[in-house]
Symmetry: C2
Subunit: 314 residues, 2 copies
């Protein structure tokens, strides 16, 4: 993907995304002896970065295609992104959600007027139901990560970072389906001369780590992590980019994720969901690589179910 594809994604999506703030956390800078900035993308109106890719995709459909509605399947933040976007564009959203999705996430998608179809909680049932809906409505399916338009949209997050700071040494993003990490790596390639891009993945969903190190995409790794946004397998398009453009993938110990979540809430007063703190849980084992560096961590989302928080652990 060349620079022009990214720069067009940047202009195209501008009306639908917030340029989120970069904040410093003095207490953590002492811990890692680095200059640390959080790119607070949980401050998007839907509480997550996912609006970036969804907008870049939907805005490249024709008017006629869009008028038939936007279809997607997701148990989480991508569902909200598509629902919000359809609302802003004045079209319908048809969202397939697994029947075991948490009620808050279903309510959030409904809040924007999406029509929700529940299905069995398997990837096969989700795809089949979404395809049926696309056929019956004529609407296009907006994929959650495995498409170049989605990757280019997610790249706008790191592009915002580089437009504010041109001397970032290390940029760290969580790795789930890979859209954000691949987009960040492309943004660094085209808009920064010196930034190493690192992915952070839970040990309990390490398909990205294994694939990155072997060079062959892993499809069957058990995902059993509290970081619900990162349970997906890395997509084909993101994997090809990550393999070539990402510097490294770091693993986070599962038992450190919830403590880091609450520590970040306490230190920053900003809500971060478990997936968003996976980079911090991974950084502790990489102290030497951070020392003296200018580091940016992308905070991907803040959609936690406040009625059912994980037990407090420090």
């Amino acid at each position: 993907m060349n620079r022009q594809v990214l720069s067009r994604a940047f202009s195209r999506t501008a009306p639908f995304r917030v340029v989120t703030p970069l904040i410093r956390v003095p207490a953590l800078e002492k811990r890692w002896k680095c200059e640390l900035y959080l790119k607070c993308d949980q401050l998007q109106e839907i509480g997550a970065f996912k609006i970036r890719g969804a907008a870049n995709f939907a805005l490249q459909l024709t008017d006629e295609e869009r008028r038939k509605g936007l279809v997607t399947h997701s148990s989480g933040n991508h569902a909200q992104a598509v629902a919000f976007l359809a609302h802003q564009l004045g079209v319908k959203a048809f969202v397939v959600m697994p029947e075991n999705s948490n009620k808050m996430k279903i309510a959030n998608a409904k809040k924007w007027g999406a029509e929700i179809t529940l299905c069995a909680p398997t990837i096969e049932a989700r795809l089949a139901t979404a395809n049926e809906l696309a056929q019956s409505t004529g609407g296009n399916v907006i994929p959650p990560f495995d498409h170049p338009w989605i990757v280019a949209g997610q790249a706008t997050c790191a592009m915002e970072v580089f437009s504010e700071m041109n001397d970032v040494d290390v940029l760290i993003a969580p790795l789930g389906g890979g859209g954000l990490l691949a987009g960040s790596a492309l943004a660094a390639k085209h808009y920064s001369n010196q930034t190493m891009v690192i992915g952070a993945e839970p040990e309990q969903a390490q398909d990205g780590y294994l694939g990155f190190n072997s060079g062959i995409r892993e499809e069957k790794v058990m995902a059993n992590t509290v970081a619900d946004g990162l349970r997906t397998t890395v997509g084909i398009t993101p994997f090809e980019i990550i393999k070539d453009e990402v510097e490294d993938v770091w693993l986070a110990a599962e038992e450190r994720i919830v403590p880091w979540m609450y520590q970040m809430w306490a230190e920053t007063k900003l809500i971060m969901e478990p997936s968003s703190v996976v980079p911090f849980a991974a950084m502790d084992a990489q102290q030497e690589k951070l020392k003296g560096k200018k580091v940016v961590v992308i905070i991907t989302g803040g959609n936690v179910d406040l009625a059912h928080l994980p037990a407090f652990v420090s």
Copy 2:
């Protein structure tokens, strides 16, 4: 207090306070049909606005006075403010805390190196212990709210608002000891032509409301509210200012405070402590006065004990 006193407090405290952001919340703007900004003072390094007044006080002591240490008594955010400030100034902090203070707040004061003395949980024991400490150390007591220097320091919060926006119609601040509300009213008087300043108080700690309406300061009203920062009685100095310069005091229904806290967390991804959401719980009964207006609410703090959160209610 004249304009010069405030403007000197503004310059004096600048190195110790963060100019906190004003953020808009689209979902709430629809609810109240107004333009709504949150002044996010929980993003101060200590997680609360209290650093403003404490800094303005401590910086007016002589070097010799300061060298003997800063003494205070508090079960909450003021303790942290004094501990943080002493740490920044390189002097000792002696903080008296009631023995039933929550462990997180004690730990937060200790984090900055304060020497903690526990005492019986009565105001008499707190004052007596703080005075003994002041005598034995020679340090000065930094009062939490009832002093003109504290009021002028807290005024810097609204001064920051007016320096960014000169057309605020309504500014709402929680009312506890009254330092922030009195300071905000003085800031509006000297730095804004059109702003009505409103206090918001829990029904279960309505001494400020009663005093404001009768013109006579109330000293003995039972305070039994989840908004722990607002359980104090309005001080003598703040009361005199509030009586003359504040437009109105609105009451919040106790049972709406916790639901508003969680709603604000969900809508903004920003942690607010119960005291900070009292304005929202009070605003619902005042819809007509807000419609079409430009409204700023000061968010006073985000120091909640994450290990012991109130049960979720929506």
